[in-house]
C-alpha cells in the first residue's frame, strides 16, 4: 500500500511517500504565502518525481502548522504525534526527539512503540527556533547552509545574553562593532539556541538515545551545541527535515 504524508511548516512544506514500510521518496519546498497551495504543490511534485498519480495514494495525513489547510488530506494530526512516529520508524530505539523547525522547537519523549509520553513546546517567542538562526545569519551576512559549520572555528564563543530575537540581533550588531570575531559570535548564537532548547528538554526529562529532527538538524553547529549542553550524543538521520512528513505517511498507512 502506498501512503503519503504532508508537513506544512512555517518556512518549508515537506512531502513523503511510503510503500509497505519503505520510503519511496521525499521532497521539500518553501511554504510561501499560501499554505494550501504549498501542500498541493509539494505533493504533486513528489508524485511526478516518483512517477505516481494521485489515485495511487491510498491514504494521506497532513501535519504541521498548515495541517488544516491541506483539504485533500484524509486526516490531520499534530507534528508531535507525527515526529514521534517518524523517529520511531527511522530508528526504533529512539526515546527522545528534539524537533527544531522554523517557528517553534519542541521536545518529545516516546516509548518503545513510538507513543508520546510527554512533550513540551517553546513559548510564544522565536528564540531557539530556525527563524532565530536565519535572522542572525542574515545579520552576520553568512549563508545559512554554512552558518553552523563556522562554529568549529570559534576560539571563545561570545556570550549572547538576550533571549529575544530582536534584542539579540542588536546585541550582535554591537558585538560586531566591538570587533568580536565573527565565528565567536556565531558560536555564541548557537549556544544561546541550545540553552533555550536544553532547558525545555530537561523539563520533560531527557532519555537516550536522542534524535534531532526538523530543518535545524541540518545545522551541525546547533547539533553540537545541544550535545554539549545535554551531555549526550544526538543522532541526525538523513531524513531529519522530512521526519514529520514520514511519520504522517506511516500514520496514514495505519488507518
Amino acid at each position: 500500500m502506498i501512503t503519503a504524508g504532508i508537513d506544512i511548516g512555517s518556512i518549508t512544506a515537506k512531502a513523503a511517500i511510503i510503500e509497505d514500510g519503505k520510503i519511496k521518496g521525499t521532497l521539500v519546498d518553501f511554504t510561501g504565502y499560501n499554505a494550501k497551495d504549498a501542500g498541493r504543490r509539494v505533493f504533486n511534485a513528489l508524485l511526478e518525481k516518483l512517477g505516481l498519480n494521485a489515485p495511487d495514494i491510498k491514504a494521506l495525513v497532513a501535519t504541521g502548522y498548515g495541517r488544516n489547510s491541506v483539504d485533500f488530506a484524509d486526516k490531520s494530526l499534530t507534528e508531535i504525534t507525527c515526529h514521534a512516529v517518524g523517529a520511531h520508524f527511522i530508528a526504533p530505539e529512539t526515546r527522545f526527539i528534539i524537533d527544531v523547525g522554523g517557528q517553534d522547537s519542541k521536545v518529545i519523549k516516546i516509548d518503545g512503540s513510538g507513543k508520546v509520553i510527554d512533550f513540551a513546546m517553546n513559548d510564544k517567542c522565536a528564540a531557539g527556533t530556525g527563524r532565530f538562526l536565519e535572522v542572525m545569519a542574515r545579520a552576520l551576512e553568512v549563508d545559512l547552509d554554512e552558518f553552523g559549520a563556522l562554529c568549529a572555528h570559534a576560539n571563545t564563543p561570545a556570550n549572547i545574553s538576550s533571549i529575544c530575537t530582536v534584542f539579540a540581533e542588536s546585541e550582535i550588531i554591537s558585538l560586531i562593532s566591538t570587533g568580536e570575531k565573527r565565528e565567536n559570535i556565531i558560536a555564541g548564537i548557537h549556544d544561546s539556541v541550545a540553552s533555550r532548547i536544553s532547558a525545555m528538554a530537561r523539563r520533560v526529562g531527557v532519555e537516550i538515545p536522542v534524535m534531532m529532527t526538523g530543518g535545524v538538524a541540518k545545522n551541525i553547529g546547533a547539533v553540537h551545541a545541544l550535545e554539549n549542553k545535554l551531555e549526550c550524543e544526538i543522532t541526525v538521520s538523513t531524513y531529519a527535515q522530512v521526519n514529520g512528513a514520514i511519520g504522517a505517511a506511516v500514520l496514514a498507512s495505519r488507518r
Binding site: 502548522y65 494530526l77 499534530t78 507534528e79 508531535i80 504525534t81 517553534d104 507513543k115 510527554d118 510564544k124
Partner: protein
C-alpha cells in the same frame, strides 16, 4: 455556550437568563447607589464581603469587571491605555484594565461606580496592594488592607490572632466610614446565608462528578459571578438553589454538557476570558469536557474551616487559607482530591501571564500529579484579559497534540 445551542437546545442551562437579570440589576443598583443614598465599596475577589453586606454597602469587584472586560474583548485597548499611562506590560491585566478604565469610564458598562472606600485583601496576590493604593489615591478615598499571611502547612495561633485582630479593625473601619454601628445579629444572618450559598455552589460544582457531566468548568466560570460578588444575600442562595435543582434534573435526564463526553479534564488557573468559547469548542471537538477547575471552587473550597456559630473569627482563618495562599504541598492535596472526585483523565493548566501566584509552581504540580496519580498535564501559555498573549495556532497545536496523546 455556543451559538448552536439555541433556546430549544436541552444542553443550554436555563438559569443563565436569571443570572444575567440579577447581575444587570446588581450593576444598575451599584451605578445608582449615590442617588439612593447607598455607599459603594470596591473589594478584591478574595476579600471578606459579608461585613459589607451586613452594613448595607454595595460591594463592587474590579476583578469581576476585569473578567467582563476580557470576555467582551475590550482588554487590549484598556491594557494599552494603561501602558501609555506608564504601567508595565508585565503588570496584571485586571489591574491595567481597571486602572485605565477608571480614567475614561470605558469598558463594557462605562466604568465602575466611584467607590466611597476600598477593601483590599492580599490572600489572592500582592499586586492588589499597589493596585488599590493607586485607586485610593485616584479617588481620594479610605483604604482598608487585610493582610493574610501565607499558609506554609499549619495555620499558627499567632497567624490566627493576627487575622482575627484585623477583622475587628475591619468592622471598626466600616463603622467609621458608614457612620453607624455594626449589628451583630445581622452579621450572623449574613454569615449563615454566605455559608449556605457556598454549600449550594459546591453542590453545583459537585454535579460534574456525574458521568457525563451536566455542567462544565466553562459554565462554572459564568455562574461563579454571584458567589463572588453577592454571597451573604438571600438572592444568591435562591439562585444557587435553582441552579442546583437544574443540575439534578440534567443528571436525571442524562443531559451532558459535551456531547459524546469521553475524556474528563480538570482546569487550573483563571479562565482565558476572551477565548472561553473557542477553548470549550476545541476540547469538545475532541470529546473532552473540562469537568471542574481549581478556580471556581476557590469560593467554596474553605467551607470546612467556617463555623457558622462563630462566623467572623472562623472567616478570618478561612479567607487566609484559600487555594493560592497555601503551600504547594497543600495545593497538591486539593488537586489530587479533585482529580479523584471528578475522575479526571488529564490536567489543563493555564500558565497565566497576569497571575503570578497562581502560575508559579504549576510545573512542580504537574510533575507531582504525573508521579503520584499518573495523569498527564497540558500547559497553555496565555493571559486572562490581554489577548496579545494568546497565540491561537500554537495553543491549538498543543491541545491537539495533548488529546492525540490521551487518545493513543
Amino acid at each position: 455556550m455556543t451559538d448552536e445551542k439555541k433556546a430549544s437546545d436541552p444542553r443550554k442551562i436555563k438559569s443563565v437568563r436569571r443570572m444575567k437579570e440579577i447581575m444587570t440589576n446588581y450593576y444598575i443598583g451599584a451605578k445608582t447607589a449615590r442617588e439612593n443614598g447607598k455607599k459603594v465599596a470596591w473589594i478584591t475577589s478574595g476579600g471578606p464581603v459579608e461585613p459589607l453586606i451586613a452594613m448595607d454597602v454595595i460591594p463592587v469587584y474590579p476583578e469581576n469587571h476585569g473578567a467582563m472586560i476580557g470576555a467582551t474583548k475590550m482588554g487590549v485597548d484598556l491594557c494599552e491605555k494603561a501602558e501609555e499611562m506608564g504601567y508595565s506590560r508585565d503588570l496584571c491585566s485586571y489591574a491595567r484594565a481597571d486602572i485605565a478604565c477608571a480614567t475614561i469610564n470605558g469598558g463594557p458598562i462605562g466604568g465602575l461606580p466611584e467607590p466611597d472606600f476600598l477593601v483590599c485583601c492580599n490572600n489572592i496576590c500582592g499586586t492588589v496592594l499597589k493596585w488599590y493604593e493607586v485607586v485610593a489615591r485616584y479617588y481620594n478615598v479610605p483604604l482598608f488592607i487585610l493582610d493574610t499571611p501565607f499558609v506554609h502547612g499549619k495555620f499558627t495561633d499567632a497567624a490566627k490572632k493576627y487575622v482575627i485582630q484585623q477583622i475587628n479593625e475591619y468592622i471598626e473601619f466600616l463603622e467609621n466610614v458608614c457612620g453607624k454601628k455594626a449589628d451583630p445579629d445581622r452579621m450572623d444572618e449574613v454569615g449563615r446565608l454566605s455559608v449556605e450559598a457556598q454549600r449550594l455552589w459546591q453542590k453545583v460544582l459537585d454535579a460534574a462528578a456525574h458521568k457525563p457531566a451536566p455542567i462544565s468548568a466553562f459554565d462554572a466560570f459564568f455562574h461563579l459571578a454571584l458567589i463572588v460578588t453577592l454571597r451573604g444575600t438571600q438572592e444568591t442562595v435562591d439562585y444557587y438553589k435553582g441552579l442546583s435543582t437544574e443540575m439534578e434534573e440534567r443528571i436525571a435526564n442524562n443531559i451532558a454538557m459535551v456531547k459524546n463526553e469521553k475524556y474528563r479534564l480538570l482546569w487550573d488557573n483563571l479562565p482565558v476570558w476572551y477565548r472561553t468559547r473557542w477553548l470549550s469548542e476545541k476540547f469538545a471537538s475532541h470529546d473532552a469536557c473540562l469537568v471542574a477547575d481549581t478556580y471556581t471552587s476557590a469560593w467554596s473550597g474553605v467551607l470546612h474551616l467556617i463555623d457558622e456559630d462563630n462566623f467572623l473569627e472562623s472567616m478570618a482563618v478561612a479567607y487566609s487559607s484559600v487555594y493560592i495562599n497555601i503551600s504547594l504541598d497543600m495545593m497538591i492535596d486539593t488537586l489530587k482530591k479533585m482529580i479523584k472526585k471528578y475522575d479526571a483523565d488529564g490536567l489543563v493548566m493555564h500558565s497565566n501571564r497576569s497571575c503570578k501566584p497562581y502560575s508559579l509552581g504549576q510545573y512542580d504540580l504537574s510533575r507531582m500529579v504525573a508521579k503520584q496519580i499518573g495523569i498527564p498535564t497540558l500547559i497553555i501559555e496565555a493571559d486572562m484579559v490581554d489577548e496579545r498573549s494568546f497565540s491561537e495556532s500554537q495553543i491549538e497545536t498543543r491541545i491537539d497534540a495533548f488529546m492525540e496523546t490521551l487518545k493513543a
